[in-house]
Amino acid sequence: MTDHKNERSDQANKSEQEIKETGELTETGAARRSFLGNLGKGGAALAVFGLGAETAMQTLFNRSTLSSAVAAGIEGFHVDGKVDGFIWLNDRPINGELPPHLLHDEVTPFPNMFIRNNGVPPEKAGIDASAWTLTVHGEAANGEKSYTIADLKEKFEHHTLQIWIECGGNGRAAFEPSPRGNQWDLGAVGCPTWTGVRLRDVLDDVGYDADKAVYIGYKAGDAHLSGRDDLDALSRGCPMRKALEDETLIVWAMNDEDIPEQHGYPLRLITPGFPGSASGKWLTEILVRDREHDGQGMTGHSYRVPRHPVEPGADVPNEDMVVLEEMPVKSLITYPETGAETSVGSTLKVAGKAWDGYGDVEELHVSTDFGVTWQKADLKRPVNKFAWQTWEADIEFSEPGFHQVWAVATNSKGDRQPMVLPGWNPRGYGNNKAHHIDVRVKA
């Protein structure tokens, strides 16, 4: 469920008297309006049926897919091979995410991998992979060099790593006032394996001026939505410090097979820990820049956050925005699906994933009392740096009723996920608020 609706549920749980006492009537009115706006008549009717009033209301407010009710209206749209339950936010460009319980696989398979496109991908059927080339050049490069995929395979050491990719705007739907962009809920994240070569090895082979090189930028084979040849759909990149890391890869395979069409066939970049947009798909060029790359999606408010905190709804001038780099520490509960049932005295196994833009999550804690007390979960080490980490905890409930399980990850720097929504920003990036599921406990 989206977090902003959790807050609405808090409002809905108050009686009229409580609301009067705390003077929250205006906010509650707004919450109701939004609630009804989202659910329409169907939602109200569901509430009327109100089997156990409490659980009915809570369920309405706590479905992880609730915010996607609008998006679910895209009828008849589907990408072949994607799992039933995929949430399609958009068809042109194609954008879709998963509810958390469909992200339970340790290695995310193709059917469960989210899609965030900015333009129109090149059709796989029309691509001759043997003729696809990657050209490296730019102000700080020692000339220009092109490689076929066969060249890359032959010339450089191969690496297979499991690396998560998360859309920078994952969780955007929770921010108020609503930032523009896809209203991602929780599931624009996934962690397949990728096979390819180190970007660093390729850059070394081309040669570059280390004093001059500041940033790498990519160019890609997808078309701008307008169809104009002079515009890129997306052309982002990363600072040299990131480009030179061991895990920053140019890859041709996802989960040991050709990269699927929507995920970048036949070649893409993997820039771990950064917003997904830094991991360019359908890769054709790498630019070694002598300045911060200024391609499509690098400037203005795109993939940028305010240099200093701002109040919700603020107008932030471009010069006060900085590029979003490492994604904040985050976790999801991927088992069981929210709404699970158990009984007093029995053990409920709760499990999920945790990841951090800097590469290591140290601890994961769960709480069944809204953060009053915490229980340490069993968190596995990553199979390699920038693989998400699986965790599980055995939970027992001592009393029947409606409960929630909250999960909070802590990274290697000691940074912890907040239980409240982190700072509003104009485009709604980096929401790493703790995730929770609802659990009904029978006597």
């Binding site: 809905a12 109200a44 609008v70 609503s178 499509q296 009723g401």
Partner: protein
């Protein structure tokens, strides 16, 4: 838990009772007009102009999943005109588009 449930029931009844009053412009607008099956857009005055100018490159879902103020809608149009290849609108067309978006897709 029990006391909470007792308190909750009036809250729900209250919520249902106020539903029409709090339903908001957007929901009322959606009820007054039909929805275009192709784009999902509300078929209110201005619909044709919005469909013809705003769904050529991208689907309407890109901008109707949430609502915004007139100011933000205009900013978004300017951004598309400045950087994304959107054509210039005549003042009349721009007014019609903004009126439509402001009325039927306000912040919510």
């Amino acid at each position: 838990m029990k006391s909470k449930m007792v308190l909750l029931l009036p809250a729900i009844l209250g919520l249902l009772w106020v539903a029409p009053a709090f339903a908001g412009d957007h929901v009322e607008a959606a009820e007054e007009y039909k929805t275009d099956s192709e784009t999902g857009l509300i078929k209110a005055p201005g619909f044709d102009t919005v469909k013809n100018n705003c769904t050529v490159c991208h689907s309407a879902r890109l901008f109707t999943s949430r609502g915004y103020t007139r100011k933000i809608w205009l900013e978004q149009i300017r951004w598309m005109q400045d950087t994304q290849g959107l054509w210039e609108f005549s003042p009349e067309v721009e007014e019609e588009i903004l009126d439509y978006l402001e009325t039927y897709y306000p912040p919510r």
